[in-house]
């Protein structure tokens, strides 16, 4: 059976959820062969095998951490050469997208980014994308070379599908450009203990209406009562009330959770681009005319400082 190369996003061996979703999609096209790089690469094997990886190619070298992107491109290319896959699937993280794009140039292939679904087709895999701030849905395929496709989080369910997951060491020789951009220092983002924004089943976001960094605890309390991630609109981030890493929208993260709760967010196109594909949308806003209400399944016109704490208390009470 044809093999599909899957690039693994992991933190010290802990496989991130979007990679497991990718395995579900890869199995629709062929047999997944995973590529895990860097510290802890071999520790990914068990989780990958459990979700369908027939093989796990691993490599570790100081270059992966010390230099930006290119060493990983060299490694993924080595895996590509070794496997000759029918497609290369990569999670749509900031770094992995760049790795995928450079690989595509090297192997003379087209690339599709930020797919939200993938199915097998007569002429190769067909990718579904949400475009123009999710106002259109397109179906596309790569028409030259081996398809390289990056897939957004929450695009497929995680499914158990035990496979061999045999670990094989990947031999990588780094090219001249591998050491071009040095990572001089790295500061890991502090964990908030909340779910990852792009991976969360529920996202609670605050915007201009939150009116100050000190007020964001209202949003955080609701998020914590629901086990949700916290998001912020560009207005709230630009005002310095919440970190950019939590920004939802065109220039921040694009999320597609089961439930999205927008508090004090008007719903400008910039924001809609990042959350419009959420399954259920709820909004709380003082302004009945706010465009966010065009998107909602349920909306409350009112003061978020009244409505949100009441909702939080109610959630806590019901959860007992």
């Amino acid at each position: 059976m044809a093999e599909v190369l899957v690039y693994v996003d992991h933190v010290d061996g802990a496989v991130r959820k979007p990679t497991l979703e990718l395995l579900t999609l890869a199995r629709r096209i062929g047999e997944p062969v995973a590529v895990a790089l860097g510290k802890g690469a071999e520790d990914t094997a068990a989780a990958l095998a459990e979700h369908g990886a027939v093989k796990v190619l691993t490599a570790d070298a100081p270059e992966f951490a010390d230099y930006l992107v290119v060493p990983k491109v060299d490694a993924l290319q080595a895996a590509y050469d070794a496997v000759s896959p029918v497609a290369v699937l990569v999670p749509s993280s900031v770094e992995a997208k760049e790795i995928a794009a450079r690989l595509a140039v090297r192997i003379g292939s087209g690339i599709i980014t930020d797919a939200v679904d993938l199915e097998a087709g007569d002429e190769g895999p067909v990718a579904t994308q949400a475009v123009f701030a999710a106002s259109y849905t397109t179906k596309s395929r790569v028409s030259k070379g081996t398809p390289v496709i990056t897939v957004k989080p929450n695009s497929a369910p995680v499914e158990a599908a035990p496979a061999a997951g045999a670990v094989e060491a990947l031999t990588v020789s780094f090219g001249e450009t591998a050491t071009g951009t040095k990572v001089v220092a790295r500061t890991p983002r502090e964990s908030t203990g909340r779910p990852e924004l792009t991976e969360a089943a529920i996202v609670v976001s605050g915007g201009r209406g939150v009116n100050g960094a000190d007020n964001f605890h209202v949003i955080e309390s609701l998020a914590d009562s629901l086990g949700a991630a916290v998001g912020a609109s560009r207005a709230a981030v630009d005002a310095g009330w919440y970190p950019h890493s939590n920004q939802v929208g065109q220039t921040g993260k694009s999320v597609s959770p089961q439930l999205y709760i927008a508090s004090g967010i008007s719903g400008a196109i910039q924001h809609r681009a990042g959350m419009q594909t959420s399954k259920t949308i709820v909004a709380i806003n003082k302004d009945a005319e706010a465009p966010i209400f065009d998107l909602v399944d349920y909306g409350v016109v009112g003061d978020l400082f009244e409505v949100v704490p009441q909702l939080t208390a109610e959630v806590q009470a019901r959860k007992g």
Partner: protein
């Protein structure tokens, strides 16, 4: 020696307008107002700041696009860039990221460069991978998605705020840089700037000038094919209530009904 900066910009349909697809499934650029992609304004701004710090620098803005794309170049020139290069050719219609990056790379090499600066993504295609592809094609370091950037003694330094960590990066010139919307507010063109822009040189190039075959680009030469584009159905109107003191409880009731609580 003069620091040669090339800023790649894109002319895009206004994101606040009613964007849609043409019959051949390319982005419709005729029926919607176009403008310089907002995210490229940050690239122009950082180029201007880097040029200010350098003893001697020259900023060229470069675009690939139809006749109207000159508007994007004009805007960048009015912000303060020195000259512009416009790659325009009927055979470019429908070119995807692989073709566009090929054209840009050839035009950048022809123009001569020490530093290429791009925005983080276009506001229409939103792929965000073109800068990485350019670095690959040009064979120079990639220093992308920077929230802070500076150039000193022949090297570029910057801060990249990634998914899991914030990284300090450093590379020797020549290099390809991209900057995010966190890199600093872009300036508005002054009246003087707008007047001066009208006199700044805009060089026009076509595929022949860049020694690119027509079949390497365009819709036919595209590395990807859009098979269908469907307008997303409007979301069905939801329930909207006015908070009369029970809004939070009503919302909880809804969420419970949907099994979220």
């Amino acid at each position: 020696m003069s620091l040669r900066i090339v800023v790649c910009v894109k002319y895009v349909p206004d994101a606040t307008g009613d964007r849609h697809f043409a019959d051949d499934l390319t982005v419709d650029r005729d029926d919607v107002d176009g403008l310089l992609s907002e995210l490229d304004e940050y690239a122009v701004e950082q180029a201007l700041q880097i040029a200010d710090e350098a003893d001697d620098a020259e900023i060229t803005v470069l675009t690939v696009g139809p006749e109207d794309a000159k508007d994007a170049l004009r805007k960048a020139l009015s912000m303060g860039a020195d000259k512009a290069v416009h790659v325009e050719d009927d055979d470019l219609h429908g070119t995807d990221v692989m073709g566009t990056s090929l054209v840009l790379a050839k035009a950048i090499e022809k123009t001569g460069y020490d530093l290429v600066i791009c925005g983080m993504a276009s506001t229409d295609g939103t792929m965000g991978v073109l800068p990485a592809i350019l670095a690959e094609r040009l064979g120079v370091p990639q220093v992308t998605l920077l929230s802070e950037v500076s150039v000193e003694d022949g090297s570029v330094k910057g801060r990249r705020d990634g998914d899991a960590a914030s990284e300090q990066l450093e590379a020797s010139l020549p290099a390809v840089v991209s900057v995010t919307d966190q890199s600093g507010e872009a300036r508005y063109p002054s009246f003087k700037g707008i007047m001066a822009a009208k006199k700044k040189p805009v060089e026009s190039l076509d595929l022949e000038d860049l020694e690119i075959d027509a079949d390497e680009v365009g819709l036919e030469g595209s590395w990807t094919k859009v098979e269908s584009a469907t307008e997303r159905p409007a979301r069905t109107a939801g329930t909207i209530v006015k908070d009369e003191g029970e809004g939070g409880k009503q919302l909880a009731e809804f969420l419970a009904g949907q099994k979220f609580i």
